[in-house]
Symmetry: D3
Subunit: 175 residues, 6 copies
């Protein structure tokens, strides 16, 4: 059996992520989904907690008909040293055989540790982007159609837009 690793921050999870996960699941039998920068939340670029992002993933993959037995979700924090991050992933995650990522630093770090890496085929990257979604959330524009229905509902349920708007006004130094 072959198990893949898929790394993202999912701030928030959008339709592009779902599409990519489905594509990857055609190549491996199981997938570990790493929720990166798990310590971050309540920041303009990272509004949601790791727990909230885990809920989004389970809801949206369920909505998309992905069998829950095919994937694991594992939150992983950033490291003080970039060079220890791969060993932290390896410690917190079930064993994996191949890494799927387009992110240059992630690719580089896994490559230096000898892993096999493959790119992810992205679907309308400009549109289905977490940065675009957060921009629309702040501008009061339509962001809902860029995420799964269940994710849109969930973000409203936890008053996510209200949180994002409030923290935007902060002057607290961000570490």
């Amino acid at each position: 059996m072959k198990r893949g690793l898929f790394v993202g921050r999912f701030q928030p999870l959008h339709i592009g992520h779902i599409q990519a996960i489905k594509n990857v699941l055609e190549k491996v039998e199981e997938l570990v989904i790493i929720i990166g920068s798990s310590q971050r939340s309540h920041e303009i670029d990272n509004p949601f907690t790791a727990g909230e992002r885990i809920e989004m993933i389970h809801k949206a993959l369920n909505e998309a008909g992905v069998d829950r037995a095919c994937y694991y979700t594992v939150p992983v924090p950033d490291c003080e040293m970039h060079t220890t991050w791969v060993s932290v992933v390896r410690t917190l995650s079930p064993r994996f055989d191949i890494v799927f990522s387009n992110e240059p630093l992630t690719r580089r770090l896994f490559k230096e540790e000898g892993y096999k890496i493959e790119g992810i085929q992205l679907y309308e990257r400009e549109l289905y982007s977490a940065t675009e979604i957060r921009k629309r959330m702040l501008a009061g524009k339509n962001w809902e159609k860029l995420v799964s229905k269940s994710v849109a509902t969930y973000i409203k349920e936890i008053k996510g837009i209200e949180r994002l708007l409030e923290i935007t006004k902060t002057d607290k130094p961000i570490k």
Copy 2:
């Protein structure tokens, strides 16, 4: 829908844990299983990594016929301050309504934060205990019957006994 939280270290996961999780799943629809002290491994009392413990849980619950759609697994590290640990759990975990635990400090910390807590009915606690299992592993005695078949197979596959025996001889200061 009601979601419970179940906290353990699972060093290793044994039949008592499985029984307890099944009992708890009669009271709640979904369960978040927290893999506590997730940063620890390669120690006499904590031989397995969080990722290995996640694999054990999925394998054993699958063997026990528990539907994967009913539970989440979330690794959570210890904190420098006991008093921040509950907020770390809350950050990394999907939202939960009730905590299941017999561990006095865990119970106390959640109680101080206003959570509802319930005890876990344990089945032959003296026998089905991770401490007893590690003792048997070290003594070369039969430990296999205290864990699920799939867990015993997995521990042998990753050469877990060999690791435990090797680190037992360490004189490295443990933080």
Copy 3:
């Protein structure tokens, strides 16, 4: 008896802070003054140590005739997770009933933990601002009239302007 919490960085403490503290002390009997980002100093935006900021508060409140029995000063560092910061404050501070703050993230974090929050009435905010004071210190302009006399004297005593001017020239990466 009712105790309030007042959060600031006080880089440096100015007359606007003193005015606000006096206003708040009309609503509560005791006040815990949190010196936020206590780990920071020797940075352009955070020139003073937590200990120096504590001295400023005691000197200026004494000058302003505020009874020392009415307030506590507690230094609190930033957290790796925003979501644990409220529990760190709760751990290091005497118990409190209400939070006074205008800072959006601080307000949001306490609100999510169920605290009662009230805004602070600010007096000529543009002028009495720590940012404005640091700008004047760097430009060699009159900053003294924006702080209490005892604070101006103290900053000169510890050669604070000299420190600020020196660190401005740094090229050391700031974490």
Copy 4:
């Protein structure tokens, strides 16, 4: 003006501490009281939070008639390196001229940094000891007479004995 530094863990604050603080205040005009190991609580040897210990100090010194204008309370955490601890104290505390301590490591660390150190005259050390008090609390024996009245009342108010008894039963690994 001469300012002293007095370091303790105050788990809990007892009459011996109060007596010592009063003695020291005859030698210096102001005293900074450092609440050491401020990150620790909910442990058998460290049951109380830093905030609770600050409340105890203020209550007991008030009861003892010590003028609040004479002292500061500053919580300071332990350090990963013993050799950085003095600089952390110096950062978080108002400036001080002399250190009062009987604790050998504390004395040694300040001595290596060039500070003047003086011992503390202890009054019936065997009896007025935090270790003895915690032992009595656990054994259900009379501990109240070893602490100030206001401290005994406060500990009961926050249900401190209940907490100590509960955490005693823990099997959670203490970092």
Copy 5:
């Protein structure tokens, strides 16, 4: 015997560093070379690991004919508190008598701890600068002549330019 301290990040080590070290070695008999921000690597401004920077220093000083018995190399990480950094240096480094640095914050921090500090005479600072070298590496321009021959060879050997170009494309949040 007099021992000096020389602090740098060496990202990468260039001919200006070598010249400065040689100049300083005319004033002291031994030199401790501190590799600052030792935890950083795989970033645009900090591409090389501390270990790689140590190798560069040994290779280049050997090439320059500097006797290895004259210097030590010690990697030192950044600190959460600027004010503890000098004590971390003092803990990890052999004892030293004088600090050589032009960096304003470094100078200030050592000065506040009572050290003697001297500036470094720089040779064509605009040209022999790590920032200039990284800029040329990214632009595909000639950077080799700004570093020692052995350093140029080493950087090519470890495929340093490839790493720098790859991480430049990252969108991962840098802590």
Copy 6:
């Protein structure tokens, strides 16, 4: 060229270490000497700072006639996760081909990362042991003959025995 890695805590460095380093240097051309637990000092089992241990190594190897061009010294702290420690060593150290160690956990961790490991031939292990030396230092017995002459002189110069005796009396909780 082949480079080895030699890991120790050197609390203190003794004749057994010197003998082992000399033996290893017959197998490799260069050796990186890792000063482990570099953050620890001022503890009964870890009295000396990393910087002091580096000085001991250079003095004793010089006394033993080992060419300074053959070895590097690199201080490395303990890690919160044992499983990241090897990547921290790899980041802070020049590249190495083979690890020399008898310490079971060190061996295990490098083995899991795929390194070649060799044992160290020890000379009268019971006698030439840092534990034995610290015991003798505390008991006022002859420890000098177990270390190099230059190390004995150095330890006296920095008043190391006085430090060890003082910290022995501590009651400060050791992290």
